[in-house]
Amino acid sequence: MTPLLAVKNLAVRAKMHGHEFDLVEDVAFSLQRGEILGLVGESGSGKSVTCRALLRLLPGANLSITSGEILFDGRDFAKMTETQIRNERGASVGMIFQNPASHLDPVMSIGDQVAESIVLHRGVSKAEAWSQTVDLLRQVGIPDPERRARNFAHEFSGGMKQRAMIAAALACDPQLLIADEPTTALDVTVQAQILRLLMDLRDKRGLSIILVTHDLGVVAQACDSIAVMYGGRIVERGPKRDVLKAPFHPYTSRLIACQPAHGLGAGLLPSIPGQPPSAGDMPSGCRFHPRCDLAQTSCRETVPGLKERVSGHLAACPITEAGITEARP
């Protein structure tokens, strides 16, 4: 089966003060219809830049895609004109963000915002758009949607705003939803509701979802597959169960181990020394080597590529591949 989305060799470059550096390099992954992919990483790992690059929504003129293909249903987003890609946004791919409040218009009712997008992309009548809007709001779990559709953003709680954002993103029935840290600003009980909603939407509509998050727990609960990013590169990807239970990359295994919720009881947590590298100041070779307890001289010299370790599970670490040692701490 051909995947809905196939990203190959994607690189995003930043220009600052006449200095150039890559924010994201050599990113490749694919997404099947109805699959939820978790894109995991710490701040500065390039996960947000990657998902914005997919829709060519890079902020500012100093960021640009320098190479790669973004094949969506056979069409290459990377090669489209500005007009063409604009038609794809919303219609083929919807997007939601961490802070729904700043992406909702404060002076327009929630219903009008969703309906506007329907009228714009589908060309239906206003009345028709409004009834579709109410229906959408109901689908995303907003109670009493006829009345709430007339409310403004400030009358919605955080969780409700995120639901409204999801409704707006789904207005034109996209096949893919990109969710950038959608639950980070929400309370845990509300986070569980939103994740449940995303999974239900996948089940009912066959929606594919890219879920960008820093929280491995969210991935473990809601995703089918994982791509772990570090220093602008994907260091490991594969089915959720394989990656979480038997990681091949030392970063993935250390990251799992240092989650406070991981394991039981009190006592010191395993931690990763040092701090994530920042773009423009990347270490040579494997980006993780300065913090890695398995690092060898070779890690400093060559940038390791992703290699398939078991079927569908890839990792970029020659050390664990050579079987010198286990990835597990």
């Binding site: 969780g159 845990v188 449940r196 473990a220 395993p270 701090q275």
Partner: protein, 330 residues
């Protein structure tokens, strides 16, 4: 009770928000803290945990009730009493950048504390700053840097070093790891675990992340809309949560176990605002086990399996819970 370092008794904090609305942020909170003990204060946004933390240190308003710290009545304390409170307590904040004066290097921020409180003789100050920085895992060479030239984790360490410069008996940490990356979070939690063991520090750890609390705290208090709904030893609360809200919170923690999926029926609704607290048990509109009495009467604390729980499910109608509480406190 004489051995407690901090005693909070029926504390209430109400303040006016815009448009003359009364925010009832804290509504009768009672607990004790012993020297060297760590209490986790857990709850969702708007539950009043941060307001409570600030009221205890007299950094925010205090409407009614008593807070006594080491013999000082914080609510009515005179100038000398508050000065003593300031010498024995410190606070760590959520946003590591915002908590440090952007115009001061971290070294001079720590130095200032030592000077103001005359902790060490002037000629020892530089050495003590370096000592404190090393204690929290910062290279003393970074002393000249301003917060903007440091990472979030480094700033948080500097904030902790500044707090430790006071040589406090109590630190209140308000969501102090929430803004950090996971790998850095673990470093800071470990630092706190080591420090409290080494210095016999009492710690109130305000957090929404239950996993972090479990690692760090001796006791946990779960707050909902300004009240503690369940309180007990960490292991007791985590092993056998009693209050329906605590149970829901525990279930909502995303476990990193791929086999343990999302709860099929997550807790519905969202925390109502402290502007409009429901009658009876504040949790009743979201509670899966709601009973008619929950809509009418405020549940009193009851002691179940070592934990104090404020829930009608555990209320024995024949017991006068006030008497019960007094019996246990006595």
């Amino acid at each position: 009770m004489s051995d407690s370092l901090l005693r909070v008794d029926d504390l209430q904090v109400h303040f006016l928000a815009g448009k003359g609305k009364l925010v009832r942020a804290v509504n009768g909170v009672t607990f004790d803290l012993k020297p060297g003990e760590t209490l986790g204060l857990v709850g969702e946004s708007g539950c009043g945990k941060s307001t409570l933390g600030r009221a205890i240190l007299k950094l925010g308003p205090l409407t009614a009730g008593r807070v006594s710290f080491d013999g000082i009545d914080v609510g009515t304390g005179d100038h000398a009493g508050i000065a003593q409170l300031r010498r024995e307590t410190a606070m760590i904040f959520q946003d590591p950048y915002n908590a440090l004066n952007p115009r001061l290097s971290i070294g001079s921020a720590i130095e200032e504390v030592l000077r103001v409180h005359r902790k060490v003789p002037p000629e020892r100050i530089k050495a003590r700053v370096a000592e404190l920085m090393q204690l929290v895992g910062l290279a003393p060479a970074l002393a000249g840097r301003r917060p903007s030239a440091l990472s979030g984790g480094q700033c948080q360490r500097a904030g902790i070093a500044r707090a430790l410069a006071v040589e406090p008996k109590l630190i209140i940490a308000d969501e102090c790891v929430a803004a950090l990356d996971v790998s850095i979070q673990a470093q800071i939690i470990n630092l706190l675990i080591e420090l409290k063991a080494r210095m016999n520090l009492a710690l109130i750890f305000i957090a929404h992340d239950l996993g972090v609390v479990r690692r760090l705290c001796d006791r946990v208090a779960v707050m909902y809309l300004g009240r503690i709904v369940e309180e007990g030893a960490t292991e007791d609360v985590f092993d056998a949560p009693k209050h329906p809200y605590t149970k829901a919170l525990m279930r909502a923690i995303p476990e990193i176990d791929p086999d343990c999926g999302l709860p099929a029926d997550p807790l519905g609704g969202e925390p109502p605002s402290p502007l409009d607290i429901p009658k009876g048990c504040a949790f009743h509109p979201r509670c899966p086990d709601v009973m008619p009495i929950c809509r009418e009467a405020l549940p009193q604390n009851r002691f179940v399996g070592g934990c104090a729980v404020a829930c009608h499910l555990y209320e024995d109608p024949t017991t006068n819970s006030e008497q019960e509480r007094e019996r246990i406190h006595a």
